[in-house]
């Protein structure tokens, strides 16, 4: 007499296969139904950061309150922020009275565990960094991921971007120490490689964008 199917060596394989197909199918349907919402949140978040990084410059030029510019995000984008062509990275220009008053670039680089993406806003001559923020990263939670915190990103505001035709080289100092020179950045404690990766990404991308601006 033959053994029942549930006692054959092939049963565990078939069982596992069926369970996998069922659960992956359920997940695929669930994810598919939520995808539009997730994408919409990502676009909102991206646009929010875009406006935040340019809002100080825009507020100074127009006299409009910064908070209002951020609150009326979509109107601010439609009125003042236009795409900028001619660069290999996604680029935007802040237009006021028909003149560009700032550029913003979507830059990419390598971190410790994976790629990272950031936005850097500069003046149209690439002399000065107006603002900077990492918006996507895969660094160690609680350590490297602190590059998204205000203390780290706000240090880049007003720093030199391109001086005498080449990118400004920054050096790192310990987090608890004050910067003694304008080219120093306080690193994230316990995340030296990540902090250096941010500096490298910024330098490489600014070099590339500056050279493309000359073409």
């Amino acid at each position: 007499m033959s053994k029942p199917f549930s006692e054959t060596p092939v049963y565990p394989v078939v069982f596992m296969l069926v369970i996998t197909v069922v659960f992956v199918g359920v997940l695929a349907v669930f994810y598919r139904n939520s995808m539009a919402q997730i994408e919409a949140h990502k676009v909102n978040e991206y646009n929010q950061l875009l406006v935040e990084l340019l809002s100080d410059t825009l507020a100074d030029s127009t006299g409009i309150d910064r908070t209002m510019l951020i609150e009326q995000r979509d109107e601010t984008i439609n009125t003042y922020i236009k795409p900028l062509d001619g660069y290999s990275r996604k680029a935007y220009q802040l237009i006021y009275q028909d003149k560009p008053i700032a550029y913003l670039f979507d830059i990419k680089g390598k971190g410790l565990w994976g790629s990272m993406a950031a936005m850097v806003a500069t003046d149209p001559q690439f002399n000065k960094i107006i603002d900077f923020a990492v918006y996507a990263q895969m660094e160690t939670p609680g350590l490297g991921s602190r590059i998204t915190e205000a203390f780290f990103k706000e240090q880049f505001r007003g720093k030199s971007a391109i001086t005498s035709g080449s990118v400004q080289n920054y050096s790192l100092v310990p987090e608890g120490q004050e910067e003694l020179a304008p080219d120093q950045i306080r690193q994230v404690t316990g995340a030296t490689i990540t902090s250096n990766s941010v500096l490298k990404m910024l330098a490489d991308e600014l070099n590339l964008l500056y050279s493309e601006s000359k073409d």
């Binding site: 549930s6 565990p12 069982f15 996998t20 659960f23 997940l27 939520s34 997730i38 949140h41 939670p141």
Partner: protein, 198 residues
């Protein structure tokens, strides 16, 4: 054992954190804010209850040789549902919790309850055990988070409780505070409830 006993046992008498010392990693990681802790706790409760129910419902058909793979697959599926739900409906909290939601899969409480309870009991009892274990875990998270958020930020659930006069204890916002608060909490429970002597 009655259904009430199952719940009380899994939530309090045999609490996963203070009695079994499971799920410690996430108990330390997400407890800087009460809202994060509540969402994490509810995520674990949801995954645990439904994973327990499903594992129990399939237990008589699951071959012993692949049972742990099946359990991991089922747990992972429910955790991914929680993760996707948070990304779609609570993006700010999803971002704050970061990788910890995905890491519910590796939370020892889920595999522990699957093996110790769901694989040997009926689906309804397993579901109740999952709810009890999850709420017991949430209770610990909220207790630690209440202390950390109150002293670290002066607030509870983001509502300012202590005024401007309060000098925030920055140690409470940092990870080490969770270590000693959890240790003190477990010590008090063991000493008072289980009468454990050092």
């Amino acid at each position: 054992m009655t259904k009430k006993d199952i719940f009380i046992n899994s939530a309090f008498r045999e609490n996963s954190v203070w009695k079994q010392i499971l799920g410690i990693c996430s108990s330390l990681a997400v407890t800087n804010l009460m809202l994060n802790s509540l969402i994490m706790g509810l995520g674990v409760t949801f995954s645990l209850a439904l994973a327990n129910f499903t594992i129990s419902a399939l237990r008589t058909h699951t071959p012993r040789s692949v049972r742990m793979m099946v359990q991991t697959l089922i747990i992972a599926a429910y955790v991914i549902i929680v993760d996707v739900f948070l990304q779609a409906n609570m993006p700010a909290i999803s971002k704050q919790l970061g990788p910890y939601v995905g890491l519910i899969i590796t939370n020892c409480i889920l595999m522990g309850r699957a093996e110790a309870f769901a694989a040997q009991n009926n689906p309804i009892d397993s579901f109740i055990d999952g709810i009890g274990s999850g709420l017991g875990y949430t209770l610990v998270l909220l207790t630690i988070a209440a202390i950390r958020e109150l002293f670290g930020f002066g607030s509870l659930f983001g509502i300012q409780i202590l005024g401007d006069w309060w000098i925030r204890w920055s140690i409470m916002v940092m990870a080490p505070s969770a270590f000693f608060i959890l240790a003190i909490f477990i010590w008090i429970i063991n000493n008072k409830y289980y009468k454990v002597k050092a």
